[in-house]
Amino acid sequence: MRQLIFAFCIGLFPFAANAVEPDEMLTDPVLEQRARGISKDLRCVVCQNQDIDSSNAGVARDLRLLVRERLVAGDSDTEVIEYIRARYGDYVLLKPPLEPATYALWFAPIAFVLVGVFVGGGVLMSRRKQEPFEDLGSEDENTVSEILRQNEAGDAP
């Protein structure tokens, strides 16, 4: 589905490139590896919802070249990303930076899990409190669980 937008890109830009191309790549495999990694975290501004690594828009190609140029110039990954962010804004970061505006986003999964732990703990405790049965001796326990297990054979989800 994402490629539907390609038609749009081709309309706006003269070159119908096709994702990252050999002539853009760096000879140093380590740097190239880093460049690919950075490209995957940057959003193409023309083709919505696509990283520049796999985008065929002209601007994406320019940005890929720029990323590599900065890396060759000795920038760290963070510096390269900051360089592009300064020109295009937070919008191009597929991985939103941790800052007050995104606290809610980044802490939400943790909050969801905590709520889950809290709710789950509550349910487990409340269901146990009213527990009417006592422990059996270990021998009985084994017998019962064996019977149970065989019975359960017919009761799987």
Binding site: M1, E21, K40, Q50, S54, L93, L105, G120, R128, N151
Partner: protein, 666 residues
């Protein structure tokens, strides 16, 4: 003439749906059997008329009737017949008609097969289902009539988007919708139960086959979409966390939770209000997906034309259905008694943890998908939430889930015997650690996360197999005896084993293709050789090929290993003149060990282009096919469970006591 018949049939279906939305439910509250019984006829009538409308639209596509606007916009006389037929559901209007058809099919299914359901419950359920039908039929007729004529008719159509002219994607919407919309009947059951104020194990049993059917097709639909993205988009990815993907994934996650929670309600008469909530929310997420895809609310790359009026209409539908049902829930749910007791280590507790993790994961995906919108509304800032966020948040949750997935089936209801449990899983845990260590040793290197995932997948696979072996007492008794036991096991049990094993297999595929993918991108003139993952690939050149409605550049790649011919691959770059767009047709050599994936493109740089070179993209994706095989196992597991005798016949009448009566040892 035929389109008018279709249009008229839709109007008749709407009339029937209006009757069905009032009469049966009124009958249920007054005890009028005739009124309640009327739902039978109206539900079947609806399916008949909507089918006529659907057939009429399909006929217009098949004969290329360019007096119908929808056909003009989405078809072309040169298009292959298969895609003319698939074009019926390729547009907003057509796919909405398909949506309504499936809605009617599920309603009719309950009317037809639900003879074991008490008359009142059935009447209420079918009325609620009719409310949804009325909402969507009016939406279709008022804002998106698929039978609109165009005058004067053009000579030919605009063609369907070439990307959609593909077998995988032709089948993707029907399966996906069958899943999405299938949850509608579960929703209707839940609302009916809330209106009645009664939820019990019998209710859970009636709902189960419908939930399973919807879940199975949603699974298949998502897997098919993912497979399509894999071979069609040209760079070998199979999941992008695009909003459109996420909105189909969320009902799946929550539907999976529902499937498991309903088991607890069925067996133990517990988690009742939670199961009801899940039933409502699962369908709500399906509706939300429909809304997001058709309203243009988020930046997504979907094809449907965006129209604010349509967006508002669907939002209205959402407000009534989701808001109404949740308000009803807030009112009625507190009155439900909590049900059976259990210990912190028990099957119930295991399924509780499963549900909480799945719910947290769904919440994460939902929040991540909508966060750009929320932030923009609050501060005006625009940000992107992409794969790095989803991977970071989602994968750890899934790993935790996998631990409990392996453990759960060993636990017995109410309370599990801890010592016995440890005894049974110790061996499995050791085996999983050995497997992960072996992988570490053999592959030397790779991301740490991948090894954790390997550990999780191995644990899940071994635990699932071990649990199955215990059930049939494999190697404890004679093989013949084990086989007899396996035959006597309910199909639902085998279904669970298969589905859980499927998840483990699917994980292996994901790990292999993400962690150990290799890639070569080269400019290739004829004669160029590329070596990747032990394959020597020679580019023999590219030639122009004429297709029925496209022109393609077709590359020829000869693949050898150790000097011996393995295969010849023909990746294509197609150009569709009518639609003025290009597609990449990758050529793949598939084996269980991995895919050799090739695609071809015109180089961006004119110099290279003029020199007669092509851009070749060659990937080796280890184990990637396990993703589809795992998905197939999930689907087969679901189908097995669906075919369980207990689901079809003898589903209980309302029991006086919960099903636990049937377990003698308690």
């Amino acid at each position: 003439m035929v389109p008018e018949i279709g249009h008229f049939a839709l109007a008749l279906a709407l009339a029937l749906a209006l009757v069905q939305s009032v009469l049966p439910i009124a009958g249920a509250s007054r005890g009028n059997t005739v009124w309640m019984k009327s739902a039978q006829a109206t539900a079947l009538g609806q399916v008949l008329f909507v089918s006529i409308a659907f057939a009429a639209l399909m006929q217009a596509f098949i004969v290329s009737d360019f007096t119908v606007r929808n056909v003009v916009e989405n078809s072309h006389s040169l298009k292959p017949m298969l895609y003319k037929v698939a074009g019926t559901w390729g547009s907003h209007e057509g796919s909405l008609l398909l949506w309504i058809l499936i809605l009617a099919v599920f309603g009719a299914g309950v009317a037809w097969f639900g003879s074991n359901i008490p008359a009142e419950t059935k009447a209420r359920t079918l009325s609620v289902q009719a409310w949804i039908s009325v909402g969507f039929l009016t939406f279709l007729l008022l804002t998106s009539n698929p039978f609109d004529r165009v005058f004067p008719p053009p000579l030919d159509g605009n063609d369907l988007n070439p990307l959609l002219q593909d077998m995988g994607l032709a089948m993707h919407p029907p399966l996906l919708y069958f899943g999405y919309v299938g949850f509608s009947i579960v929703f209707s059951f839940a609302v009916a139960a809330l209106l009645e104020g009664r939820v019990d194990p019998a209710w859970a049993r009636w709902v189960r086959p419908w939930t399973l059917a919807a879940w199975v097709s949603l699974t298949a639909g998502i897997a098919l979409g993912s497979w399509w993205a894999y071979y069609e988009l040209g760079w070998g990815g199979w999941w992008f966390w695009d909003p459109v993907e996420n909105v189909s994934f969320m009902p799946w996650l929550l539907g999976t939770a529902l499937l498991h929670s309903a088991i607890v309600t069925e067996k133990r008469d517990a988690f009742k209000s939670w199961t009801i909530l899940l039933a409502i929310l699962t369908f709500s997420l399906s509706l939300l997906g429909t809304f997001i895809v058709r309203s243009g609310l988020l930046t997504s790359v979907h094809a449907f034309a965006v129209d604010p009026e349509r967006g508002l209409y669907i939002l209205g539908l959402l407000a009534v259905s989701i808001g109404g049902s949740l308000a009803l829930y807030a009112w009625r749910a507190p009155e439900m008694e909590p049900g059976g007791l259990f210990r912190p280590i028990s099957r119930e507790a295991g399924l509780l943890v499963n549900n909480l993790i799945l719910a947290a994961a769904t919440g994460t995906v939902l929040f991540g998908t909508l966060y750009p919108l929320i932030l923009e509304a609050v501060t005006g800032d625009k940000i992107s939430v992409g794969p790095p966020f989803f991977n970071a948040a989602f994968i750890p949750m899934m790993l935790a889930l996998v631990v409990f997935m392996g453990l759960g089936p060993f636990l017995s209801w109410k309370r599990a015997d801890i010592a016995g449990l440890l005894d049974r899983i110790r061996f499995v845990a050791v085996l999983a650690v050995i497997a992960a260590s072996a992988a570490w040793y053999l592959l030397n290197g790779g991301p740490i996360m991948a090894y954790l995932a390997i550990l999780g997948a191995a644990w899940l696979l071994f635990a699932t197999l071990r649990e199955w072996a215990l059930r049939i007492r494999l190697f404890e008794v004679s093989l013949a005896e084990s086989a007899r036991r396996a035959r006597n096991l309910p199909r639902a049990s085998h279904g669970m084993t298969l589905a859980h094993a499927g998840v483990a297999v699917l994980m292996m595929g994901m790990i292999g293709s993400t962690g150990w993918k290799s890639e070569e991108i080269v400019f290739a003139a004829p004669g160029t050789e590329v070596t990747i993952a032990g394959f020597d690939i020679t580019f023999e050149g590219a030639a122009k090929v004429q297709g029925p409605n496209y022109i393609a550049d077709r590359g020829t790649l000869v693949v050898r290993r150790d000097g011996e011919l393995v295969t010849t691959l023909f990746p294509e770059r197609r150009y569709y003149p009518v639609a003025e767009s290009q597609t990449t047709e990758s050529a793949i050599r598939s084996t269980l060990a991995g895919d050799l994936y090739t695609s071809i493109a015109t180089p961006a740089s004119d110099q290279v282009n003029n020199a007669g070179a092509w851009t070749l993209r060659i990937l080796y994706e280890p184990l990637v096919n396990l993703i589809w095989i795992g998905s197939i196992l999930l689907v087969i597991g679901g189908c097995l469970s669906l075919s369980d005798r207990r689901l079809r016949v003898g589903a209980p009448r309302r029991a006086k006591q919960p099903a636990s009566d049937a377990v003698p040892a308690e």
